[in-house]
Point group: C2
Chain length 234, copies 2
Amino acid sequence: MQTQRQKGSGSELAAVVAAAGGRHRTATEFVEAALKAAILEGRLPGGTALRQEELAEAFGVSRMPVREALRQLEAQALIDFVPHKGAVVTEISAEDAADNYAIRRALEPAALALSIPALGPEDFGRARDLIAEMDTDPDPGSLGELNRRFHMALYSRAGRAKLLALTEQQLAAADRYLRFHLAAKGREHLSQDEHRALLAAAEARDVAAAVAVLHAHLDRAAATIAEFFRTRGG
Amino acid sequence: MQTQRQKGSGSELAAVVAAAGGRHRTATEFVEAALKAAILEGRLPGGTALRQEELAEAFGVSRMPVREALRQLEAQALIDFVPHKGAVVTEISAEDAADNYAIRRALEPAALALSIPALGPEDFGRARDLIAEMDTDPDPGSLGELNRRFHMALYSRAGRAKLLALTEQQLAAADRYLRFHLAAKGREHLSQDEHRALLAAAEARDVAAAVAVLHAHLDRAAATIAEFFRTRGG
DNA sequence: TACCATGAGATTGGATCCAATCAACACCTG
DNA sequence: CAGGTGTTGATTGGATCCAATCTCATGGTA
């Protein structure tokens, strides 16, 4: 993939640290959250080598919380531990994107089907607001999060905590791909029409139709990203 | 659930250490693998508090690799970090079991459908052998692993590495429940008939039939375990 | 010139040490 | 005797230190 396995150039790390404003109980959680967000949002692209000492200095902590945070990111398949070279941010490849969509195609319809009967007006309102926000928000960087929140709003009443957590994790991972190809193509690739159709089917409590729309939505997104990787030589 | 949040009684930990024979590159990996196996196999039941110092002594290492291993287990939702109380093995509840089955019901049919066209005679042979082994193996403790390997054999040609990894992880988690209720009920609850029907449908390359059998298989298992929890007051 | 050995530097894995925080228990008081 | 309170011990989170190992550059040699 012709990736330069360079270390993060310092200033990038500073930006990562600065962007991580949330309050966390422990330094480990803080570092983990910041790195996770940076990776998922594409600020730390695949192939970036994260050296512990450098991270420790950038975050103003010792290497220990950094190590524990990296371990957790490893368990989430966001980085690979390469002995004596550092923790390397996992590459995003056409193969990985296809995997991600295969998983989402399995999980999300299940969550949607469980959730639809229990959805209330406030959920539909939230979903509608998020669609509108995606239409108007000028920042392409936040589209991924809005998209994720829209999907999760429709699944939120599934009543299966672990299923939802897993789904959200996969959606977050999808952010990496989405952002990747939104940057190259246009925001029209967000398929707002399909979002609206999905919401309409959910409001009509038509589970079969909603699942069909969701399947088509995910398949189209997968095909688009696959095509993107093909033309780009991924 | 009337769980005693006692610390592992030392001798239990010794058994966990002794059972972990595999060779691993680092102490962290060794500790993680040993604890993970012990939790999934039920040797460390839900609610057990794992204190770092105790683990460190039992494994003959310092607290540091223990801490990193615990962090990774936390990321896998096998333990919860409770400040000043230790890492607590997550409870297995009726709710968790239902979640696990909902996830498997979404993932496994997808993996199966992708895999069936690519399965070869050697895969069918392996699956057949595993069914036979489940019939004859006298050790009820190994039934879970055999069951997992049987299922994975049928999914193995799906060609989606992450989907398979996630599926296997959920199957491993299911071991905890399976072992739990196999101990109380009988091995006939393994549904060997359904296993055979699943294999037959796969050999016939009948994706729809195989998926239907798998759905029924998982639904029946979920119902059985739900009933088990209900009668047992879980 | 190409290739291999050697040594210095860098990086991680692990151990030990220190500080902060919480839980439990004993004690005092109304 | 019940309830609140202070103190002690235990346990974790984090920092610093040490050892092992790999990488990479340098230089020597065929």
